[in-house]
Symmetry: C2
Subunit: 399 residues, 2 copies
Amino acid sequence: MKISKRVNLMQESPIRKLLSYSDDAKSRGLKVYHLNIGQPDIPTPTFIYDAIKNYSEHVLAYGPSQGLKVARDTVAEYLNSMKYNVDHKDVFITTGGSEAIVFAMMVAADYGDEIIIPEPFYTNYNGFATMAGVKVVPLTTKVEDGFHLPEERELEKVITSKTKAILICSPNNPTGTIFTRKEMEMVVRVAKKHNLYILSDEVYREFVFDGKKHTSILEIEEARDISIMMDSISKRFSACGARIGYLVSKNPEIMKGVLKLGQARLCPPTIEQIGMIEGYKHMKSFMDEMIKEYQDRRDVVYENLKKVKGVFTRKPEGAFYVVVKLPVDNADEFAKWMLTDFSVDGKTVMVAPANGFYATEEMGKNEVRIAYVLNRNDLKDAIEILSKGIEEYNRRNSG
Amino acid sequence: MKISKRVNLMQESPIRKLLSYSDDAKSRGLKVYHLNIGQPDIPTPTFIYDAIKNYSEHVLAYGPSQGLKVARDTVAEYLNSMKYNVDHKDVFITTGGSEAIVFAMMVAADYGDEIIIPEPFYTNYNGFATMAGVKVVPLTTKVEDGFHLPEERELEKVITSKTKAILICSPNNPTGTIFTRKEMEMVVRVAKKHNLYILSDEVYREFVFDGKKHTSILEIEEARDISIMMDSISKRFSACGARIGYLVSKNPEIMKGVLKLGQARLCPPTIEQIGMIEGYKHMKSFMDEMIKEYQDRRDVVYENLKKVKGVFTRKPEGAFYVVVKLPVDNADEFAKWMLTDFSVDGKTVMVAPANGFYATEEMGKNEVRIAYVLNRNDLKDAIEILSKGIEEYNRRNSG
């Protein structure tokens, strides 16, 4: 007796698949710098915890499937502070950004339909696509172009009769690239021309550096009826374990469909919605400082990576990731080797092999994703260890 | 541009679809007794809230995809107190029982495969089946038989080459029926013979009355390799808004598949897992009293329903629901009418039309599900109002 083919064929998370090796390394007494996962070290703001502690309903009851009214109002208000013209009826609270993406895929496409995603992309999209039964069709972007989108005709080339949507993520995980307004408008133009939905993952909206500007799909009037914006409080409030996200669409048919999916799973967690509300109330008080901290970290990582012989990357524009080309043949093997065979002064580094962030086979074989979610000193130390690791790895392999 | 067919074709929740009418009734100043939804009124135990309030990690971080180790240990210990011989490795913490069911369906079956479910069944299975892309094949049970399972050959009749699993729920939502050990063994026998998985929803395990005994799939040695038990703390701890459930399987292939699905959505809510742990620690201190309360409520509902002319039902054996045959042609219309056109002393009653709990069209047209989740006085009052409503409704319609 066999489990289902779809689950059997699912890839393991490239972010988490080397965990047993890092556990082994730790049990041998090594310190492991985790650059593999986007788990921020920034403390969750106390006002979020305070709201959670103050929750005092006698019964921790089912909430509304679409989220608490006050939570939806809060999200609408937050988005309207950027003049996105959103009503609480356009907002649906989900269990993490993950659920928002799965629901968006299920509403936009049927089994066997296709969704185009620029690659490299957040690897979990593969898992969501498997759950939703849709096929991911990659649109390749390249480190040499700073992972910006290719020409309009390249996007049109991958559209088939089965294509139902284009999924974009900006600021991008894993590349750190911010799509320009022009790129966003190009996507909208193509989507309108070919009757496609746009699923826009904007989880890293605030994580933009050097005065650059993020363009939301909600800013583009022409995309009004065809778009679903997906968001999460995980990174914004350093509250990944809260599992609160949401999706926003101004198309009532989409929202009606999402409600049916949402009713099936009853409701998102109640208490954390209260936490989220407080988060948005006090957002300004900590956001600027947090973004500045990430920009400083980005600088530490980028400046130190540049010094490493044979390494190639562009300066990331936002989010807190960077995809780096290494002078190794197989980044998967290298990442494992760093955990099993290498250390400097009792310390080593865990990175995520980037191959798993591509849908096209063989792509990204010599690339890794680095998440800069540690303090600057640790990051500097980690990149130094990585650099020494590359040197040692290549010496052994050429020996 | 159309949303996906699968979502477009999803039925609305029969439990929630009349909500706009009850909202209207309330805005007209009426009190509405909610017998439509399984939302207990029992206060969530304070030790669960205390654990949540005492959570003090600086970062509310991603937890492990399979749940916190200490949470999995707690579940294993709880199940082992009933001698089910479960290791923490057999336990996977999910976001509510809902996610446990979706994951179980996805692991057991591929798109287009079939899962057999005795009907009437918990209506949200339809939604989960849509999400998982599997077809629900009903096995009809009847109020006259107390909704117990039909003969073995009736079950075998609905098996096709596409059948991958049998899903059972005992104590049953919506019928309150407890499947006997003999019935459970029959299901296991048929499943083994035809190479099917068994998905066993045991959310109401403790909700058994009159000294009756619940049989878990985990008790049946022969089912060891083919079964997935699905559970939730929502009803047990009156904590529906916590969104914590889990699934248990002793088949490592199943657990490996579930882990891949779980990694895609990252993790279940962290803080509520801590709440769950405290819940199980102190379970004995409140469970007996709570079950006695539900049994007393069951008696109030059953005794008062028996007195209503033309109403037929069997005495429910567990859970906190009962499916009742009413002397009306269309229970859907009747349930709506109770909210729009009827009241007694400024009060009316909301019930869930049972048709939506059947997959076979036309079944359950004159049945409703009643959830006895109110105190006994309110329940008595509600059944009296329901009784008067039936009388008035039939007088008008025959007039």
